[in-house]
């Protein structure tokens, strides 16, 4: 057992001794209104009366071992800022009682994580050399932040002068006390699953994007996450990186965030375990684009946790095509009325890969408006897509208007999709809809092409592109749209050619 390593952490935990509710939240903060925990089976560590032995007996040795490795990898650095330490503590604590998920756990029923579990997980060690390892195009016009193997690399990032009061950068370089205070209110303010906590323990840094009240940032911030360290497939070792970003947009502020994940040469094995937290203040707006094109042998686990205050708008457009195992956990918590939430996802599984979206939208206040569109194409007989879309309309969320639609295209025999759209409605004056369609291409659309002289194969190809284009066209930035479009075309081409 790795308990010796974990023990001191528990001692340092400032909340373990004060919290009386089964919640890791400090009592001076507004209590989050989660009615249902994302992982209800999890035992909260704050049941402090349990002896350590009891806690340890619930622990998963494999998990503790990873946690230990992650901690060791960070121990050489200078003492972290208190906020980061707090994050690590809270995360470590929750890891004590979190086993590695199996197919018997509902959230992982269709998602096999054994690929990670069977590997020897090795954190990518010290900060990398400040070189441009991938020949990253640096000509981008946008302010951008570069992460190499989870480490924020200032020297590769380009940040033009930003409006007064805006902070973008590492927590280590955050000097404003006021911002620090705000940030501290949100760090470790949410509890995700095992992977969330592993990131909390293993993240070398916390990158903060802070947009003050009423401030509108014109050009989007481009966050580029690059995995350089990788091993050849077949190796037992799996390098892991844990980037973590917190975005806080104050009242009336507005910002566009582009997150782009790329791998090295496209064949390397690695594990990117990323967390992004977004706080959208009152009347604020965050437009979030998330592009995942990792190596086809990579594991990519991503958490996006969003907190929406009253009259705020959060828009997410996701396009995921990479990874052997790609999982996006998306959690949106409404903390005020009149919010607007717009989620669009396009997943493409064109080799023996799994694309998984687990989304949860919790509405606790009146007049929330939400739309979710999930589309996926599985173009490989060993490919798989998973969608679990949960929308909770709780008691006080009257006059909610929530719509959800998932559409899947299966282009090969044995291609698999598991969709589980689910609405939980307690309020009685709401408008909610959900739909799921799994199909081949639409006959009448194919015929429309044919009737204009276009042969069946060209028509199929055009329709397959267009299926994803519905989501891609929602990307708010033309440069991104263009890039993603051409990438997808390239990826789909062999799949289409191979199709009858």
């Amino acid at each position: 057992m790795a308990t010796p390593v974990i023990t001191p952490i528990i001692r340092f935990n400032p909340y373990a001794s004060t919290s009386t509710s089964p919640s890791p939240y400090p009592s001076n903060l507004p209590k989050p209104r989660f009615q249902i925990r994302p992982t209800p089976t999890k035992l909260s560590v704050s049941t402090k009366n349990h002896s350590l032995a009891a806690a340890a007996s619930l622990s998963d040795p494999f998990v503790l071992q990873i946690a230990e490795t992650l901690e060791d990898s960070l121990s050489t650095t200078t003492p972290p800022p208190p906020l980061l330490q707090k994050l690590r503590d809270v995360s470590a604590e929750s890891l004590l009682s979190t086993p590695w998920p199996t197919r018997k756990d509902e959230p992982f029923r269709f998602t096999d994580t054994s690929f990670i579990k069977l590997s020897q997980i090795q954190p990518v060690p010290s900060p990398p050399q400040p070189v441009n390892p991938l020949g990253f195009p640096t000509d981008t016009q946008l302010p951008n932040l570069v992460f190499i193997d989870g480490f924020f690399v200032d020297s590769l990032s380009q940040l033009p002068p930003l409006p007064d009061g805006v902070f973008v950068g590492s927590l280590l370089s955050l000097n404003s006390e006021a911002i620090m205070k705000r940030v501290s209110e949100f760090v470790s303010n949410f509890q995700g699953d095992l992977f969330w906590s592993l990131n909390g323990v293993g993240t070398p840094d916390l990158v903060v994007v802070y947009v003050p009240e009423g401030c509108r940032i014109e050009s989007p911030l481009h966050l580029r996450y690059c995995s350089v360290e990788g091993v050849d497939s077949g190796s037992k070792i799996l390098p892991v990186s844990n980037p973590r970003v917190l975005v806080v947009v104050e009242k009336g502020g507005e910002v566009g965030i582009v997150e782009e994940y790329v791998g090295g040469d496209g064949k390397k094995c690695y594990w990117a375990n990323s967390v992004t937290e977004v706080v959208v203040g009152e009347g604020a707006k965050v437009s979030h684009s998330y592009i995942q094109s990792q190596s086809l042998n990579a594991a990519h686990i991503k958490w996006t946790s969003v907190r929406q205050e009253s009259e705020s708008t959060y828009e997410l457009v996701e396009v995921s095509t990479g990874g052997k195992l790609s999982r996006h956990n998306l959690h949106i918590q409404q903390v005020g009325p009149d919010t607007v939430t717009d989620l669009s996802t396009f997943h493409l599984s064109f080799s023996d890969q799994t694309q998984d979206l687990h989304s949860k939208l919790v509405l606790d206040h009146p007049r929330g408006f939400s739309r979710q569109l999930h589309k996926c194409i599985v173009a490989h007989s060993l490919g798989q897509a998973v969608f679990d879309g949960n929308v909770q309309v709780n008691r006080y969320a009257q006059q909610t208007d929530a719509g959800q639609l998932t559409r899947s295209l299966l282009l090969e025999p044995r291609a698999t999709v598991n969709v589980k759209p689910n609405l939980q409605i307690i309020a009685d004056d709401v408008k909610c809809s959900h739909g799921a369609a799994i199909s081949d291409l639409e006959e009448n659309q194919l015929f429309y092409f044919q009737a204009r002289g276009v042969d069946l194969q060209t028509a199929r190809r055009a329709l397959i592109f267009s299926f994803g284009a519905e989501v891609i066209q929602r990307l708010p930035h033309p440069f991104l749209r263009k890039k993603v479009e051409s990438d997808i075309k390239e990826l789909l081409d062999p799949a289409v050619k191979g199709f009858k």
Binding site: A451, R452, G453, L456, F467, A469
Partner: protein, 321 residues
């Protein structure tokens, strides 16, 4: 129509029943055409109907004729078709011949088979041809895939144009246009060249340039969808345009625009087959023939006056077939 030429009713069935008309036909050439003799197999039609159809022949020769004798474009014989899934028969022996430069109008009650007829002509997969033949420009259409029919020059405007989210109008048209260029052995047009080719055509249907960048029919109003069909016709061209209720759901201005575009497309070599419920379109596009469809057959053929009568008296005025 039978009243105009009562003699035709009494024409006894003979190996070439049309020959008796020869003496008072303005254009003899037409009647010596072997294609024409195949037009209406005499033995399968009731005498009254045969009379009506026979009348068509001399009239057909009367207009839209240049120096050359017009070629037959489409010849449909005894066409029967059923819904592919339920095998329910819809068309029960349709006969129709269309020559170059003619405008044919098909009218009929809801459910009489008009739209099915149009769809069968272009090879819609929902229907199965169970008998008869369709010959277009001398080729057997029934052997051709829908895209081959389109490339051969058959164009159908959809009654309910299909939405294709994610494919822009200009991309869609470029694909279709380049398919035609390939078929003709011409080099394909690049997006820029193609833009140059189609942007002037927008005027035809009175649409703005941003129309090209919108997704095919997605979020289009009823009128915009119909204009888009005509726009496609104008861009792609066709020897025979089949317009299935192109006038439904159009306001007066849109109707005029669409009619203007149809007239603009019509030449001495092209023909139009229009399916409509209303006479008002015929105020703008003058028909050569009006056919009435009933129970999967063409039961009456005549001039524009037929459409006027239908407009006034309804379909009940058709004598039982």
């Amino acid at each position: 129509m039978a009243l105009l030429h009562p003699c035709s009713c009494t024409t006894p069935p003979s190996p070439s029943p049309i020959l008796p008309f020869k003496n008072w036909t303005p254009n003899r050439l037409l009647f010596t055409s072997p294609a024409l003799r195949r037009r209406f197999p005499p033995n399968r039609l009731p005498p009254r109907l045969r009379a009506a159809l026979a009348v068509e022949s001399p009239a057909a020769s009367g207009k839209n004729r240049g120096g050359d004798s017009p070629e037959i474009l489409l010849e449909v014989k005894d066409l029967s078709a059923a819904i592919a899934e339920s095998k329910q028969p819809i068309l029960k022996g349709v006969n129709l011949s269309v020559y170059e430069g003619e405008v044919h109008v098909v009218m009929g009650k809801n459910g009489s088979g008009k739209s099915t007829f149009a769809k069968v002509l272009v090879g819609h997969p929902d229907y199965e041809v169970t008998g008869g033949s369709i010959v277009f420009k001398g080729e057997n259409v029934l052997d051709m895939d829908p895209e081959e029919r389109s490339l051969a020059g058959l164009f159908m405007s959809f009654q309910s144009p299909i939405e294709i989210p994610g494919v822009s109008n200009i991309d869609f048209l470029q694909m279709a246009y380049n398919a035609r260029r390939r078929k003709l052995g011409q080099p394909e047009l690049s997006p820029i060249e193609f833009y140059g080719y189609i942007s002037p055509k927008l005027e035809l249907v009175n649409m703005k340039v941003d129309f090209l960048n919108r997704n095919v029919n997605e979020g289009f109003s009823g009128g915009e969808r119909k204009r888009n069909e005509i726009f496609q016709l104008a861009v792609l061209g066709a020897d025979l345009a089949i317009l299935d209720e192109i006038d439904s759901g159009l306001d007066v201005d849109a109707l005029r625009d669409v009619a203007k575009a149809v007239n603009g497309i019509l030449t001495a070599k092209n023909s139009v087959l229009m399916i409509t419920h209303y006479h008002r379109l015929l105020d703008y596009v003058k028909p050569t023939y009006v056919h009435i469809m009933e129970g999967g057959r063409i039961v009456e053929t005549g001039k524009e006056s037929v459409a006027k009568r239908i407009e006034k008296e309804g379909y009940n005025a058709i004598p039982a077939a």
